[in-house]
């Protein structure tokens, strides 16, 4: 069974509804609730009268005549002479978001502005990572521990992939890597710093423009 709503809550609920009730905007059910309660509750009936007086007081505020006319002497310069069509706003938003994403992803992955190995020269991702471990830039003498680790790797895998073979070869041969491998030309996405900056500014400007326009004319 439903419990009856406690009296303080019922008063509160009715008083919340009274505003809409006075404007004839309450639903049928709300109207019945208000009328039934007010008929028996002196405090809420008084509240209803006071609320009605309040509404009347605001409505009674005089309409002040403007001190001057606000007609325009000349057409203001159109800020949006190049205004985009109706699909312009979504397009600007998507462009701003895409530019941000490209810049951030580029920075995170290092694909923009930092050298990366050429994809065709990469034997495998495992080889790259392992090679980075055992081939410092200056190609120093491998430590005994590193040699041991590579040997154990070769033992564990009876049919080592090309990457491991390469690693075994490079660890066995303490000489520096072949010149053509060492001088492998890095791939650099041709994105100059000033272009990065310009794209960033464009993205920020697009976002700011969109926000301003949205706020000014909601």
């Amino acid at each position: 069974m439903f419990r009856r709503r406690s009296e303080p809550i019922r008063h509160q609920r009715v008083r919340e509804l009274l505003s809409s009730y006075l404007d004839a905007q309450a639903s049928e059910r709300e109207r019945e609730l208000v009328e039934r309660h007010v008929a028996t509750c002196e405090a809420c009936r008084r509240y209803q009268e006071e609320l009605r007086d309040t509404v009347q007081a605001v409505r009674g505020l005089p309409q002040v005549t403007p001190p001057r006319t606000f007609t325009l002497a000349q057409a203001p310069r159109q800020r949006m002479a190049w205004a985009l069509p109706s699909w312009g706003t979504p397009l600007a938003t998507a462009t701003a978001a895409a530019l941000f994403a490209v810049l951030i992803l580029g920075e995170v992955t290092g694909l923009i502005g930092s050298p990366v190995a050429h994809p065709t020269a990469m034997p495998s991702s495992e080889a790259l990572s392992l090679k980075a471990l055992v081939q410092p830039e200056a190609a120093p003498e491998p430590t005994p521990a590193a040699s041991d680790a590579l040997e154990s790797l070769a033992v564990q895998d009876e049919t080592p992939p090309a990457a491991t073979q390469e690693l075994s070869r490079s660890s066995a041969d303490t000489s520096p890597p072949p010149p053509e491998e060492a001088a492998q030309p890095p791939l650099q996405v041709p994105l100059l710093p000033w272009l990065q900056g310009a794209l960033g500014l464009l993205a920020v400007a697009s976002g700011a423009w969109w926000l301003r326009r949205r706020r000014a004319i909601r």
Partner: protein, 181 residues
């Protein structure tokens, strides 16, 4: 309206003359300061002229009042940041130019006092509550128009209106108690 949208300034100025009263009054009640209300009103019509292409349908008055409400909100934020004169000190909404019929001197004084109390009570409301009360009670927008002008749902508008009126009642009762010991 069609001529205005095509850039006809004369046609647009006819709209200005028709709606400058509601725009100015909303700005005045929101800001409680005549000079600021004038500035906002002018800014609203400049913005409206530039943005006429974005006006699609519905009440033109409600659309103008939306721009007015946003302009008032921006100004109040700036004012708050600059810590300018408090609202209490700026309550000077002259009734001298009101379109109400001329009362006797006693009635006039009493009416001015009551209006000042109402304005002070309005100033105590939050921006959103004040706007809801003014759009519905002073500007006569229906609930749907007011909700669209504020960019909220009908339920939210009802809630803001209810709370705003309840707070107004409290303030007016307090003021009345102070005035009539």
């Amino acid at each position: 309206m069609q001529r205005s949208r095509l850039g006809d300034l004369t046609a647009f100025n006819q709209l200005v003359e028709r709606y400058q009263g509601p725009v100015y009054n909303l700005a005045l009640r929101m800001l409680s300061y005549e000079a600021a209300a004038e500035d906002v009103t002018q800014e609203v019509f400049l913005s409206a002229y530039r943005a006429l292409g974005q006006y699609r349908e519905g009440s033109f008055k409600a659309w103008l009042l939306t721009i007015t409400a946003n302009a008032c909100r921006d100004l109040l934020r700036k004012r708050k940041r600059r810590q300018e004169t408090s609202l209490e000190e700026m309550v000077e909404t002259s009734g001298d130019r009101s379109v109400s019929p001329s009362p006797t001197p006693e009635e006039y004084t009493l009416r001015r006092e009551v209006q000042r109390e109402i304005q002070q009570a309005l100033n105590h409301l939050s921006h959103d509550h004040r706007l809801a009360v003014l759009l519905v009670n002073l500007q006569g927008l229906d609930y749907g128009e007011a909700a669209r002008a504020m960019g909220v749902s009908l339920g939210t508008l009802k809630s803001r209106l209810s709370r705003g009126r309840a707070q107004l009642r409290e303030h007016l009762l307090t003021a009345r108690g102070t005035r009539e010991p």
